[in-house]
């Protein structure tokens, strides 16, 4: 066990920090917000993604041939830290880079890797995640969207019918990774396939859904005779459930460290606000600030432990517990921010619904215990899969 970084790793850190500083005090100074969720100025955000891509900072863990640097885990940790320290903006390309890309790397064909990964890491193509449907949320295997193979002008194509919902960033996406039923009459986890579907076509319509933050980051996505080439399926047709689950496990990857650094910035902002308005004199607030700090330290240690043991190929038990921990911690951080702000917490900055940074963070953090597996579903998984408790009756079973 070794917790410190080697001299070479520190050299890598300086290289990353220097590049980030140069960009964010230079051509991209306007994006130096550190904000995770921000759908304003999408074109500028795409320019940023392309700049990352050109300098090979976009997906450093990937092989060089796909635009990465073959970075070690330690280097990925370091880059995540420096990225957040530099208050670089949230990644518009994250659904591709962090979810779909690693899935294609792990389970895709050579041709798929060559076709999709370089454009992803270069910031030339953006992705969205087509899992949830109106009747398939926690019960993802209840997917009804279906696809069948048909002859197309350039060979066989999947033709897709159905509706997805809560599709984040679909309005900026060129492609969607879609869980769909490809075996007629199948139910549950069987007969699903993981398709890669182009968004810019007649058969795809999106309708924005307004969030309680006032913004519309997510959408309803309708597939009405949408098409994609037969080879755009990751894994075997009918085996999509396994692929979809693999994608979710990447949600616990090195990006958790970047997320933690973002949290650290938020905690610092709350501490700053508490010192400014005197809330920091309140012993209860002080205690909660200290607890929040301890929680961050716990998360960091746990993810380093989780990531290094994942390198050795085992999915360790703490991997099951990570999502519920960070989500619950961050939801509480949002409440702490509001308590620190006191009467000023309810204030926006401009009509109709521009909110101050910490209030916005509070609202965003209301969703953390819902997406990527609700707290209840996480607890069921921990209880039934990690602890081996008897299953609660669900459905017809």
């Amino acid at each position: 066990m070794r917790l410190d970084f080697s001299p070479q790793e520190e050299t890598f850190r300086r290289e990353a920090a220097t590049w980030l500083e140069g960009q964010l005090s230079g051509p991209f100074a306007d994006l130096r917000t550190g904000r995770a969720h921000d759908i304003s100025a999408p074109e500028r955000r795409k320019e940023w993604e392309r700049a990352l891509g050109r300098a090979r900072w976009s997906a450093i863990g990937w092989p060089e041939e796909y635009g990465g640097r073959n970075a070690t885990l330690a280097e990925q940790v370091i880059f995540a830290e420096e990225y957040a320290r530099a208050r670089a903006p949230g990644r518009l390309g994250h659904l591709g880079i962090e979810l779909c890309g690693p899935t294609i790397l792990a389970l895709g064909t050579e041709a798929q890797k060559r076709r999709f990964l370089p454009k992803m890491s270069a910031g030339e193509e953006y992705w969205c995640q087509g899992y949830s449907e109106p009747n398939a949320g926690s019960d993802l295997s209840n997917v009804r969207t279906r696809a069948r193979l048909e002859k197309g002008p350039n060979g066989p194509e999947w033709v897709i019918e159905g509706q997805k919902t809560w599709t984040s960033l679909a309005q900026f996406a060129d492609w969607c990774f879609l869980v769909t039923r490809t075996e007629e009459g199948s139910t549950g986890a069987r007969g699903l396939s993981y398709l890669l579907v182009p968004m810019h076509q007649k058969g795809v319509t999106i309708r924005p859904i307004r969030q309680m933050t006032g913004e519309a980051e997510f959408n309803e996505t309708f597939f009405d005779g949408a098409r994609t080439a037969a080879e755009n399926v990751v894994g075997a047709p009918g085996e999509g459930w396994k692929v979809a689950m693999a994608t979710l496990s990447f949600e616990r990857g090195a990006s958790t460290l970047a997320q933690q650094m973002g949290f650290r910035n938020q905690l610092d902002a709350i501490i700053g606000a508490a010192k400014d308005n005197g809330a920091a004199r309140d012993p209860l607030i002080r205690q909660r600030l200290a607890e929040a700090y301890a929680g961050l330290k716990i998360m960091r240690a746990s993810s380093l432990r989780m990531l290094t043991s994942a390198q050795s190929g085992k999915l360790s038990p703490e991997a099951f517990t990570y999502k519920i921990f960070w989500a619950t911690w961050h939801r509480k951080l949002g409440e702490l921010a509001m308590d620190v702000l006191g009467p000023a917490g309810e204030l926006g900055t401009a009509a109709p619904y521009e909110l101050q940074e910490l209030t916005k963070m509070f609202l965003f953090s209301r969703a953390d215990t819902i997406y990527a597996g609700t707290n209840q579903v996480q607890r069921n998984i921990i209880a039934e899969r990690a602890l081996g408790l008897p299953k609660e009756p669900r459905g017809g079973a």
Binding site: N135, S138, Q211, G345
Partner: protein, 353 residues
């Protein structure tokens, strides 16, 4: 000793509830949110017809001459409906403030009847609240300058609108100049008046939180019965049931606390202050838990603008920070309990001679 509400008290609250079910439908709230608060005045007129602005005004001024244990149920209903108009602030704070000042300040006496009938809208800028609710729609404002209470015409102040997280709350920062002509009272009389107004503000914010909590539970329960996942209503899963049951327990205990504070607030002593603060904490915590649980039960739906839940959540979050935030009330309870000024001991806690 009788910790129950009379039939009249319940009837008045019931009539108000029926009216609000009609006036504050989700569609009506959506329309009001788009306009940021009320502008038509139609809802206000219907509420005034019931005489509610004057619940706490003396009968001589055309009011009902009732007390805080009557109005507490009205405030609870206003919360349950997320009523956009500041009825609670007018009837629960401004009117008793004016009634208390009337014997010393002729201008307060002059407008009391109009305030009690609702014909004149009165907004309150109490010390400790940086913003004034409903200032733009008011005819006059009661404003603080130190201990002094001032009565100012709407036309005589500048307003800077402050958007709230709750789009149904029309808040403003008020720019104004105090003068001898605007002053109603100063010194100890002003201090006492503001102190009483503050206690009522906190009490009725707590009462609104009770109503909001119940509304959020009701919405979540209905959704949990209707939404199915894994082939069953999500409300059949213990995880969901237990969460909702926990909020209801928290609410019932907060309720008793708030009603007790309503019975005590008139005493305006330390025991009343302690009761109000702990009621505000309990009701605020219940509302916060109801919001957290409500959104969780709804899944992603709860995070959208399209379900009604967010109106009630946002009102609750706004009220938790107003009329003394959590830190303020906790500190007050701490210093009353530990500071030696609050009579303690079993004889004090359980019996009141």
């Amino acid at each position: 000793m009788d910790f129950t509400f009379t039939e009249e008290q319940q009837m008045m609250a019931g009539a108000f509830r029926e009216l609000l079910d009609d006036l504050c439908s989700p569609e009506a709230l959506r329309a009001a949110a788009e306009k940021r608060g009320d502008e038509s005045g139609a809802r206000w007129a219907r509420i005034a017809e019931l005489g509610l602005p004057g619940v706490l005004a003396p009968e001589a001024a055309g009011g009902m001459g009732l007390g805080d244990t009557d109005f507490v149920l009205i405030a609870e209903e206003a919360g349950r409906a997320a009523l956009p108009e500041p009825l609670v602030e007018q009837a629960g704070i401004a009117v008793p403030l004016l009634a208390g000042l009337a014997p010393h300040a002729p201008r307060a006496a002059e407008i009391l009847a109009q305030a009690a009938s609702g014909a004149l809208r009165v907004a309150v800028g109490a010390p400790g609240n940086p913003f004034v609710l409903g200032a733009a729609q008011a005819g006059v404002l009661l404003l603080a300058d130190g201990d002094e209470v001032h009565l100012v015409e709407r036309a005589g102040v500048g307003l800077v609108a402050q958007p709230s997280i709750d789009t149904l709350r029309a808040l403003a920062r008020v720019e104004w100049q105090p003068s001898a002509a605007t002053r109603l009272v100063s010194g100890a009389a002003g201090r006492t008046a503001w102190a009483r107004a503050f206690e009522r503000g906190a009490l009725y914010a707590a009462a609104q939180c009770l109503g909001l909590t119940q509304r959020m539970i009701d919405i979540a329960v209905a959704y949990a019965c209707e939404r199915t996942q894994f082939g069953r209503p999500i409300g059949s899963y213990q995880a969901i049931k237990h969460h909702l049951a926990t909020v209801q327990v928290k609410l019932e205990f907060a309720r008793a606390h708030v009603y007790a504070a309503a019975a005590r607030v008139v005493d305006a002593d330390q025991r009343a202050a302690a009761a109000v603060s702990s009621a505000k904490l309990a009701a605020g915590d219940a509302a916060e838990l109801a919001a957290r649980t409500g959104i969780q039960v709804h899944g992603a739906m709860g995070y959208s603008w399209e379900v009604d839940l967010h109106f009630y959540m946002k009102r609750a979050w706004a009220l938790i920070g107003s009329w003394g935030d959590r830190s303020f009330h906790m500190r007050r309870v701490q210093s009353l309990v530990l500071g030696g000024s609050l009579p303690l001991g079993s004889d004090q806690t359980f019996v009141r001679s």
